[in-house]
């Protein structure tokens, strides 16, 4: 498999297959980032497309010396998501029924028990709802660290803030998330809340 800088170079030379290879290897990651921010599959899909259109238009500004391609990609995606968040702040409403249903649609794994599938789905829904309650600053820090597995310095590059601020946001985000999750599990009932060790 070719490295990203090589693919970027070929892409800038007009090689469409290189661009397709970049898309193949990074779409999933960006889609998940968008999904964790919006919580809606269709919106995440549109945002992913918009992010890649932006990437395609600004590809020549990528400088490999300043950071890796995934970090640059995540930074562009994050800026776009923040813009989107500000733009839609006023008319944001609760998730539509269609998206709720769409979000629950997953391929059933033949090897996993139905009970385990239901539990896994419940955990995902709980996490997504809890993330939606966080402020964008804290949410993006937690998502980049715990769901996208980026290092602190990479997150600092993506968010454009010092590493100390990143650590602080991640810690505050996790604490807030823990409180929200605890509250949600408490609302579900003592049986489920007591399920964890």
């Amino acid at each position: 498999m070719e490295h990203d800088p090589e693919l970027v170079k070929r892409c800038l030379g007009g090689d469409n297959s290189a661009w397709e290879a970049l898309l193949q290897s990074h779409t999933r990651k960006i889609y998940n980032l968008c999904y964790r921010f919006t919580g809606r599959p269709s919106e995440a899909e549109d945002l992913t497309q918009e992010v890649f259109i932006k990437i395609f238009q600004t590809l020549k500004t990528f400088d490999g010396a300043q950071g890796t391609f995934p970090t640059w990609l995540a930074r562009v995606a994050r800026n776009h998501l923040v813009d989107h968040y500000r733009r839609t702040k006023k008319d944001r409403v609760t998730s539509s029924l269609e998206d709720e249903v769409g979000g629950m649609e997953e391929k059933p794994s033949p090897t996993v028990e139905p009970v385990a599938q239901v539990e896994s789905r419940e955990r995902k829904e709980l996490l997504q709802r809890a993330l939606d309650r966080l402020s964008p600053d804290l949410r993006e820090a937690v998502v980049l660290r715990d769901l996208q597995d980026l290092d602190y310095d990479e997150i600092a590059q993506v968010l454009g803030v010092p590493e100390g601020t990143v650590k602080s946001r991640i810690n505050r985000g996790r604490l807030e998330l823990a409180r929200v999750v605890k509250r949600m599990e408490g609302m579900k009932g003592p049986a489920k809340a007591g399920g964890r060790s």
């Binding site: 889609y31 395609f56 896994s120 709980l126 715990d146």
Partner: protein, 225 residues
């Protein structure tokens, strides 16, 4: 260490990023403080929840959709174009069509009497084709007719022969044997010899007529009635 200090260091403690002194301080506080132990436990649970969360699968058409939105429809490669061009040729129905065309062409060529190895300019004239088709038709008719008459002649001969073979035995049974004239006779005619001679004459005539007919057919003329 206060509760607030522990809260600020909670993530670094769980990720193992604290130095030894700080870690010992945190652990000492946790041994004495129940609410902080609960806080660390909640934080661990959330981190596990995040790490166990699997990636959400994007729609399978998303990459193609982005490709269309950025570079437009992908232009097929030369190999793909070539394969698309020859794809109809690999269909069985084309083979049937070609076979039928060859078959029809050979019938027309045969009927027109054209020799493809010795093709002349006159062979390309439609009048020649009509003439040749007409000639071939007549030849075919003559052959069929000849075959039919030949069969008739052969059948007649066979039936006469059968008749002749059966007649002497009947005559021998029915009629008494004529006595020889006294003093002998010079007449050596056997019964039925006349009929046999007539059959032989018939066969000769048939053979000669068949020969004439054959010659006429070979020459390409229809036999005169």
């Amino acid at each position: 260490m206060t509760h607030l200090e522990l809260e600020n260091l909670a993530s670094e403690y769980l990720e193992g990023q604290l130095d030894a002194v700080r870690r010992v301080q945190v652990e000492e506080h946790l041994r004495e403080c129940g609410p902080c132990r609960e806080l660390i436990s909640d934080l661990q649970h959330v981190m596990e929840l995040c790490h166990s969360a699997e990636d959400v699968e994007p729609a399978p058409w998303l990459v193609a959709k982005i490709m269309r939105a950025t570079v437009g429809e992908r232009k097929p490669t030369f190999r793909e174009q070539l394969a698309a061009f020859f794809r109809p040729a690999t269909q069985p129905r084309l083979a049937y069509a070609v076979a039928m065309a060859i078959f029809s062409f050979s019938i027309i060529i045969n009927a027109a009497g054209l020799n493809l190895r010795k093709l002349t300019l006159a062979d390309l004239n439609p009048r020649t084709w009509v003439y040749q088709a007409n000639r071939t038709g007549h030849l075919l008719y003559a052959r069929v007719e000849k075959f039919y008459y030949d069969l008739r002649v052969v059948y007649e001969i066979e039936s006469r022969l059968r008749q002749l073979r059966s007649e002497p035995s009947k005559q021998e049974q029915k009629a008494p044997k004529p006595e020889a004239p006294p003093g002998g006779s010079t007449d050596r005619t056997v019964p039925g010899a006349t009929q046999l001679a007539s059959v032989q004459g018939l066969m000769t005539a048939a053979a000669s007529s068949t020969g004439v007919l054959t010659k006429m057919v070979v020459k390409g003329r229809s036999p005169s009635p």
